[in-house]
Amino acid sequence: MSNLDEENNILIDTVREFCEKNIDEKKIEEEKIGKNMNSLLASQGFLGAKIGDKYGGSALDDTSYHIILEEISKYSPSIAMKIFMINSLYMPAVINTEYESILSDVSSGKVNVSVDFMNDKYSLDYNSNVSGIIKNILNPDSKNIVLFDKKTIIAESPFKINEKDFMGFKGLKFGDIELDNKYNVVDDKNRKEDIILNSYNDLSAIALGIISGAINKAMEYSKVRTTFGAYLKNYEPLAFKLSEMHSKENILRSILYNNLDKYYTFNFAMDSIVEIARFSVNIHGGYGYFKDFGVEKFYRDAVILKSIFYGNEQLRQLSNHVYSEKLNFI
């Protein structure tokens, strides 16, 4: 990572040290991200990584923000997702609106906020009332939630939550909400697409962390586990595949931090993540199927991340982007 400078490297060390000391993902998945963890994340400036300092945030540049997302994802994709939802999705929706002052309570961990990714349908009336069902939302226990209708709106708590169990980003609460709430318009346009487009590199950083966490688990295991009288790493088909995946991890890191076109980086991340996480589980044999070994969570979160953020719509955007480019040849 020669493209990162001294300051970046100090940040990497700091985040790793924090994670080593404070993050027990198994516990987080069981108990959800609680008050203590929120305070810890806030005190490190992670919750408000991109939020301006007038709201108590860290106002970090992109590289630093990506380092935080990557490093935390290696330990806890759930926490990274929480930070991402605040900084990459919620903040861009509320900044420069009457809601931006809430960012203080967000960066200090006092309140949760959320964004509805689903293509849910709502009914809005003239009394600023929104009704309908929000399905499958992360962080339903929020102060308010950004919804994308024809306009970009914010629904105000309290919410009637039907909490559900869910196997991805399990550190966050998850469920459906029966809406019958007040709302306010924060933008006259539906900003979903533009907000997600702007977050491609952030998502790639989370993907990189998941990939890296999974591969490292697998490589470590391949060095200590024996079968048929030899270490796993001495079985060439496994070693070759792990090494190829490790190459891809480093390529993704290189293009992310070298700031290659975000469409390419995101496509590469989404193209690699599931295969890598899946194979990292496989390497562990039966143990990989159990939570205790801390590898299956990467597979779950990899698939869920891709399900939420990468589909035909994103491929269409990539394709439009590519076909509108001047080709580098002829």
């Binding site: 044999g285 939570k291 869920i304």
Partner: protein
């Protein structure tokens, strides 16, 4: 060979649709609890007919198509029965009737913590002492381990130059002193099935508990796996079909017509069709007692990969709509298909060995 059972297939499917509702499947998945009531219900309907392997195969496929956690749970209390059927004495085969009737739950104890797929090097010992055997050791990832009444157990009875020569199989009553089962929790999928770690601490086995001949255990277990693999292929096939059902349902009810999704449907359905033909073809040889282990391994490896592929594609095509426990559960269930009873890697070595030998 399988088309003649179309009515039976429908009976099974109707049972699964009625009993394995989304709510029920989600509950057992969440609670990681064995569905003993469903096992009993399936028994009372006589759904599993151990005398007819083709019907077993179909039942497994159709049940897993609706829910693999429950489907495997109700078809697995007989796990290991073929060892007794093929190699047991009269009394042991007699005993099987109580397994088929549901009085007893059976299981198979082969895999060990350090061993994985490396069966020849297991460390559990059954040391002869007079006309008894003293069983010591531990087993890992044992399906039904904490609910089984009896287990077919593989243990070392002697140290031979070739490690697989010194192994023997026993029928172990789990009520015996020295037996301990520790239910393993936190599985990614098939969470309704029961999985346990076992410890054997000086368990006294009588010589009547020996299955077949001493020293032939490795061969018995390999023979068993050559049979049971076909049922894993059927589990995987069912899961792949179940995932595809979700995709079709989603595509139809949302009137999705874009070509990329159409290509996805073509790819998935082609792989499922190939899995089905590989599985049925391998099974048809096996069930007329002309096993072709490489075909069985191909079926298992290919169907296992297809289960994972289809369920991941379901997550991808349904996108945010897949964050529904009745879809994402399928993808979590699928993964085990590449792992148990020989990882896909082991299958590949079996296939290449037979291919190179064969020509």
């Amino acid at each position: 060979m399988f088309e003649e059972y179309n009515d039976y297939r429908k009976t099974i499917r109707d049972f699964a649709l009625k009993e394995f509702t989304d709510g029920v499947a989600a509950k057992y998945d969440r609670d990681e609890e064995y569905p003993d009531d469903l096992r009993k219900k399936s028994l009372s309907l006589g759904i599993i007919d151990m005398q007819n392997p083709a019907k077993i195969l179909i039942a497994i496929e159709e049940l897993c198509r609706i829910d693999a956690g429950l489907g495997i749970s109700v078809t697995t209390p007989y796990f290991g029965a073929e060892v007794l059927m093929l190699f047991g004495n009269d009394e042991q085969r007699e005993f099987l009737n109580d397994v088929y009737s549901g009085k007893y739950i059976l299981g198979l104890g082969v895999t060990e913590p350090s061993g994985g797929s490396d069966v020849a090097h297991i460390k559990t010992t059954a040391t002869k002492k007079g006309d008894k055997y003293i069983l010591n050791g531990s087993k890992m990832f044992i399906t039904n381990g904490a609910i089984a009444d009896y287990l077919v157990v593989l243990a070392r009875t002697s140290n031979e130059e070739k490690p697989h020569h010194g192994l023997s199989t026993f029928l172990l009553n789990t009520k015996l002193n020295g037996f301990k089962a520790n239910k393993l929790e936190g599985k990614l999928g098939v969470r309704a099935t029961n999985t346990a770690e076992l410890t054997f601490n000086n368990i006294e086995l009588s010589k009547d508990d020996l299955i077949g001949e001493e020293g032939k255990g490795f061969y018995y277990i390999m023979t068993f796996f050559n049979i049971s693999r076909i049922y894993v292929a059927a589990q995987a096939l069912g899961i792949a079909e179940g995932a595809f059902d979700k995709i079709l349902n989603y595509v139809k009810s949302n009137e999705i017509k874009d070509e990329n999704t159409m290509f996805g449907i073509a790819d998935i359905s082609t792989r499922i069709e190939a899995s089905k033909e590989l599985t049925y073809n391998a099974a048809s040889y096996l069930f007329k007692f002309e096993p072709r282990p490489q075909l069985t391994s191909m079926a298992k490896a290919y169907a296992g990969e297809t289960a994972v592929y289809s369920s991941e594609k379901a997550m991808e095509i349904l996108g945010v709509n897949s964050l529904n426990e009745n879809v994402e559960r399928i993808f979590r269930n699928a993964k085990i298909m590449e792992i148990w009873e020989g990882t896909s890697d082991v299958e590949k070595l079996i296939i290449s060995r037979f291919i190179l030998k064969g020509e």
